[in-house]
Symmetry: C2
Subunit: 218 residues, 2 copies
Amino acid sequence: MTLSEEDYIKAIYHLGKGENSTVSTNAVAYQMETKPSSVTDMIKKLSDKGVVNYRPYKGVSLTEYGQKIALSQVRKHRLWEVFLLEKLDFSWDEVHDVAEQLEHIKSEKLIDQLDKHLGFPEVDPHGDPIPSKKGELKKTIKKLLNEVPIGASGICVGVKDSSPPFLKFLDRNNIALGDTILVLEKEEFDGSLYIRIKESKIHISDQIASNLYLKITE
Amino acid sequence: MTLSEEDYIKAIYHLGKGENSTVSTNAVAYQMETKPSSVTDMIKKLSDKGVVNYRPYKGVSLTEYGQKIALSQVRKHRLWEVFLLEKLDFSWDEVHDVAEQLEHIKSEKLIDQLDKHLGFPEVDPHGDPIPSKKGELKKTIKKLLNEVPIGASGICVGVKDSSPPFLKFLDRNNIALGDTILVLEKEEFDGSLYIRIKESKIHISDQIASNLYLKITE
DNA sequence: ACAAATATTTAGTTTTGTCTAAAATTATTT
DNA sequence: AAATAATTTTAGACAAAACTAAATATTTGT
Ligand SMILES: [Mn+2]
Ligand SMILES: [Mn+2]
Ligand SMILES: [Mn+2]
Ligand SMILES: [Mn+2]
């Protein structure tokens, strides 16, 4: 597959929400930042190659083969994101663009060894699961921190309240998007939580916890 | 620069032996595994961009600007080679092809951080020097091991005698291409050498040492 | 149900990088 | 100094991936 084909396959996969659902030409065009006519051309080519099921005017979906390619692509993308964050000190929001390029390098050994070098990570810096080499993918769900069960951990992926005071609070307490949070204990009295974040243990109120989203792997 | 342009620039640089020397169309075509007519087309484009000096029928050379690009490209290529060998356990002869792809990833931060992650290496797995960010390049020379001064070290890059018995000897003594060898001491009596290789100290005869090439940085 | 709005495809170009075949230039022999 | 050989360039074509403008199909609103 060419770089372009790989990106289209990934776009169709993501728009189909990981399911085999049918995706519209316009949706792909928007995602890929191209014109619908370009999408039609590419879809025809992918259809000829057996990567997608295509019925003119009705949309596209990935074939079994196409899904395999998509998952392999997602695997590469997310492993590179972990690499950039963990080994090269990139920040949460810088990893995506570079991974978008790195995911197209052709070498099976490269990915296998990268996986090993990273200690076989299960999720990427955005809390999304990394498909296994065979294409198995764990499910993740997004939950407010106060609804995460004791003992579970997840990655901080967003805030419900994005007011400056709240963001300032997070900053002061050294809580940032991309951080892994482990729920240690819940205070019965006021619902406040003891959590582990970046090697330190902190205590946060229920009000804070009910405004932070975590992505957790089941 | 596009991927293709970058590879042409690198080819012209290498054929010019790092000097600004003029290179023939056919030489570039051979190196790039393309046809001479394709090379002429590309050279014209690079000339328009101010990357090369071109006089029809007379050959090309890099401009100052072109040399900068070439050195930056060589830097990326060699840093990735070190990464593949050191961090991902690739072997000496596997690194080149993958680095040929990785060198085209566009991200200044990526290369800076990679350099840091690798501990600012000075040479690649083939003993070739890695240009600095500013484009400075150390000189290296190839010498037979028995001519390397005491205290100097280099990378094993070839053999003079490639007969099966000699290669078998190297294999048995765990000496391989790409290994870093440090010359510790020379025995006056028979010219034999004590060397350090992969954390171990071994003793080899002058006959062996005079059949192994090292690449050393000055 | 039918007109208007929206979505999708087709037709015709463009750019990049490649190719083959033919023409032009330069180098080598005799 | 011609003739021959080798190298290099030009001309014309092609595939990939994009675009614009026009045509066609589908969906929506009344
Ligand atoms: Mn990509
Ligand atoms: Mn991600
Ligand atoms: Mn390359
Ligand atoms: Mn090298």
